[in-house]
């Protein structure tokens, strides 16, 4: 468990700050959870794929 030595700040009011997190973006940090999601969502994904391929736009 990572415990950091952040100084006590005004970490209280839930403000969102955009920062460069490109080193973290595009990676999967919780792969087991993603795998579980894939299993649960497989039928929904298949349904969407099926609809995509059978829609008239898919022939273009």
């Amino acid at each position: 468990m990572a415990r950091t030595a952040n100084p006590k700040s005004d970490n209280e009011n839930g403000r969102m700050i955009i920062k460069d997190m490109s080193h973290l973006e595009g990676k999967v940090h919780f792969p087991e959870k993603l795998e579980k999601a894939r299993q649960i969502l497989a039928p929904l994904i298949a349904l969407r794929e099926q609809r995509k391929t059978s829609s008239p736009d898919s022939n273009s």
Binding site: G14, M16, L24, V28, K33
Partner: protein, 168 residues
């Protein structure tokens, strides 16, 4: 929803968020990520403690930092930000353990009224079927989307339920 929550950092794509939990165990770095699940509009919510020395990060750790409501309120705030950027997104959330999934359900129950102003939640049952969230039932997972997408996704989930019945 104006619950106490932590400051949080967002990456430019708003698919990754960070914040620091403060409590008796010290300062604990938390990461929330939204990963696409094979399809453009379906995402998995990953959440856990950051450990620079160990990747992938561990979502099984029980931090016991005495601030679980505040931590979950911060995660909820990231859901709000994420779905503002990706309004068609559906987000799947599962706990890493049954007790954690139950904790999520209890928090959804507590703030259901506020959540339902913006979102609709579907529960994934043990029987592999989907239903609109019922505060008296336990679920294996939750699928959340903005209220504007309700009819579209509910139609899909009903189709899946029907298929399950036919196959079963």
């Amino acid at each position: 929803m104006h619950l106490p929550r932590y400051h949080f950092y967002a990456g430019a794509t708003k698919t990754i968020f960070e914040f620091v939990s403060e409590g008796p165990k010290g300062y604990i770095h938390k990461l929330v990520e939204y990963s696409p699940v094979n399809s453009n509009d379906i995402y998995n919510l990953g959440f856990g403690d950051v450990d620079e020395l160990e990747e992938p990060y561990n979502d099984m750790i029980v931090s016991n930092n005495g601030d679980s409501a505040k931590v979950l309120a911060t995660v909820a705030a990231t859901v709000f930000e994420f779905t503002q950027k990706y309004p068609k997104a559906s987000v799947l959330a599962t706990g890493s353990t049954k007790s954690r999934t139950r904790l999520y359900r209890m928090n959804v129950n507590r703030y259901l009224h506020e959540i339902q102003e913006h979102f609709v939640i579907f529960g994934y049952c043990k029987s592999n079927s989907w239903e609109e969230f019922n505060n008296k039932k336990d679920y294996e997972a939750f699928l959340l989307t903005r209220i504007e997408n309700r009819n579209e996704i509910w139609l899909e989930l009903q189709t899946l339920n029907l298929t399950m019945k036919t196959v079963g």
